[in-house]
């Protein structure tokens, strides 16, 4: 038996206890999704761009080893120090060794889902290093001692009153003030002091260009730039799949990224880091952590095309109503549910089942990843490997038996109808998960089987 971890349905149940918050979460994300639609519709070539991006990424995947070597060579020529990390542990150790070399115990960090995946903050804190997240949403969840619940909108699950309370406790703002403008100004002052005093800044990477050895970091707040340009050392951490072949391809991806993410035409800052400043040290850490393994899984390798826009989460009816934390993974939602089982099939076996397979995620994906198909395929792999969630397994075995025994199927149907008609309280209660947040349907007067038998005779067929 493997260790028992809280699974998606249990964690979603917890989130669902506050119905008002669920509705608000649902509506807020749908509003972001609608903004995405509006932005996409302004470009007549939107579908061509998606195809193009998907094809470029496919070429990247099919030549990834060559592009990695080319990128390394050019980055070294540019004066960037290149490190390779096979897994999260090695990534964290490399970061620590750079801090140690400079005798630094305090750093500022810009948003990086890779460092979340590697649990870098926890690791560094245990090593006595203070990490300050500088993206406002990330700083908020950091103060709340929570992980981000969304890759683009890290504190989308939090109400402004809760944020006001956190700032009152940690930053000394007046109690009861929950005005976003006021709170942002307070965070600006608090973080400016950190930017000006920290010697090492860490950032993520949105795109790295093999042709030139440069990397691009996109933010709206400017926190990556404030960190990197004011620090003596800039460490950039990236998954190996972030490469693109040519600089001109940035034109394709930057057009798609923010329109898909928030509906903006582009992020406020799309910064191209090619060489360190004369007085600065620049490092890049290339991280595998299971990506080469996913590349070998034919059915799932397309997931490595992901550019982390979050569109699949904003549109997902399950994500919107269960919250990012219910996915217990750095990357939540549909794409996270494909990436997570690659990291650990046992621990994340529940996630591909946290989907209605409605296909909305695949429809909005800017690089045309077949997300819902991959979720469906993961279910089959997980069941075959013996990792299916227990309740799902029992239910599926029950269904398999019922569907392969016609007499039992008819009897079960009749019994169900009889129960719903004569003793509705047997199904309209909280023990029945289908009753939650919905009314049970009126049972039909007769089954399809009975209706068909009768009508076939009346129509004189057979």
């Amino acid at each position: 038996m493997h260790k028992t971890i809280a699974e998606h349905p249990t964690l979603a149940d917890k989130f669902n206890q506050d119905e008002e918050r669920v509705n608000w979460h649902d509506e807020t994300l749908w509003w972001v999704r609608a903004k995405r639609d509006k932005a996409a519709h302004t470009l007549p070539e939107w579908e061509d761009l998606r195809n193009l991006a998907s094809q470029i990424k496919h070429n990247v995947l099919s030549n990834l080893s060559e592009y990695l070597i080319q990128f390394e060579e050019n980055a070294l020529k540019n004066g960037i120090q290149v490190h390779w990390a096979a897994d999260a542990q090695e990534h964290n150790a490399i970061v620590k060794s750079i801090l140690q070399k400079h005798g630094v115990t305090q750093i500022v960090k810009s948003k990086s889902m890779l460092t979340e995946e590697c649990h870098l903050n926890d690791y560094l804190q245990e090593e006595g290093v203070e990490v300050i997240d500088t993206d406002l949403g990330e700083r908020i969840v950091q103060l709340a001692q929570e992980p981000p619940s969304h890759i683009v909108l890290p504190c989308i699950h939090k109400k402004k009153e809760e944020i006001g309370e956190l700032f009152h406790l940690h930053l000394g703002t007046p109690a009861g003030n929950a005005d976003p403008q006021f709170l942002t100004e307070a965070a600006r002052l608090h973080l400016r002091e950190k930017f000006l005093t920290r010697k090492i800044a860490l950032t993520g990477v949105n795109f790295a260009v093999a042709e030139t050895g440069e990397f691009v970091v996109c933010t709206n707040e400017g926190n990556a730039d404030m960190g990197a340009h004011l620090a003596d050392v800039h460490i950039a951490c990236m998954g190996i799949e972030k490469l693109i072949p040519l600089r001109q391809h940035l034109g394709v991806f930057l057009r798609l990224l923010t329109r898909s993410a928030t509906g903006q035409p582009i992020t406020t800052y799309s910064s191209h880091f090619k060489k360190p400043r004369p007085d600065q040290e620049m490092h890049i850490v290339l991280v595998d952590n299971g990506r080469s393994r996913q590349l070998g899984r034919k059915d799932f390798r397309n997931s490595l095309k992901c550019i982390r826009c979050g569109a699949c989460m904003n549109t997902c009816p399950v994500y919107r109503r269960s919250g990012g934390h219910s996915y217990h993974n750095a990357i939540a939602g549909p794409i996270g549910s494909i990436l997570a089982p690659n990291l650990d099939m046992k621990d994340y076996a529940d996630l591909p089942f946290a989907s209605t397979l409605c296909g909305s995620c695949s429809n909005v994906c800017p690089v045309k990843i077949d997300i819902h198909d991959q979720l469906y395929k993961w279910r089959q792999v997980l069941v075959k490997e013996g990792h299916a969630p227990a309740a799902k397994k029992a239910a599926m075995q029950g269904m398999a038996f019922t569907f392969s025994h016609p007499a039992f199927y008819r009897m079960a149907g009749k019994t169900g109808k009889w129960f719903m008609k004569t003793t509705p309280f047997m199904v309209n209660n909280n023990f029945n998960p289908w009753y939650k947040q919905r009314d049970m349907p009126e049972p039909p007067k007769e089954s399809f089987h009975d209706w068909y038998k009768k009508n076939r005779k009346e129509n004189g067929h057979g």
């Binding site: 193009l52 890290p154 404030m226 072949p245 799309s270 590349l295």
Partner: protein
């Protein structure tokens, strides 16, 4: 040890990567607008910036003097020398911490998204356009291109240490999706479009 991981990763990637598929060429996409200057101005305003069409640096001088008066201003543009504060150590990025306004000449701009391309050689310090409380960008109107594809066409494989697209003032919507201008960087953005008479 690091060498070991490099080989291990490259070997695993090579073993697992699919059969080669060719790199597609990026086609020319006709923009759905004809007046790029107008489109650029509209988008910059929509993302929180302010656009001034001017015919000379003298006009920029006048506008900035009126809006910023005696507040600390820095610019590497010779034509704006009389606005620039003297006696500060502008070789050190940290010295910009209390700067009220940075005025930066830009290379080119993109109509479809209001982004302005600035390379390192046009700013004294990389931090300059981020650390100032307010930012002004100066763009010759004829350098505005319709889309990102044309922008990268012009940028080509140019060598630089650092370059960035700037689209509007620094912003965040992390608190209940309420848009707030001035997260860490400039709270406002002024764009001067120079169109000689």
């Amino acid at each position: 040890m690091a060498m070991g991981s490099r080989e291990k990763i490259l070997e695993a990637v090579k073993r697992n990567q699919p059969e080669n598929t060719p790199l597609p060429t990026v086609p020319f996409f006709e923009p759905p607008f004809t007046d790029s200057v107008r489109k650029f101005s509209e988008v910059v305003q929509a993302i929180g910036g302010e656009v001034h069409q001017v015919s000379s640096y003298a006009e920029i001088n006048t506008i900035l003097k009126k809006e910023f008066g005696t507040k600390t201003i820095f610019s590497s543009a010779k034509e704006l020398a009389e606005l620039v504060q003297t006696g500060l150590d502008y070789k050190n990025a940290h010295a910009f911490a209390d700067l009220e306004l940075a005025v930066v000449e830009a290379n080119l701009a993109v109509a479809e998204n209001g982004a302005v391309w600035v390379t390192e050689d046009l700013i004294q310090e990389r931090a300059l356009p981020f650390i100032a409380q307010h930012l002004a960008l100066i763009i010759p109107a004829e350098t505005i291109v319709p889309t990102m594809h044309e922008a990268y066409g012009k940028i080509g494989t140019l060598d630089y240490g650092f370059a960035t697209f700037i689209a509007g003032p620094s912003k965040t919507a992390d608190i209940e999706q309420s848009l707030v201008l001035g997260a860490h960087g400039p709270k406002s953005l002024l764009v001067f479009l120079i169109r000689p008479l």
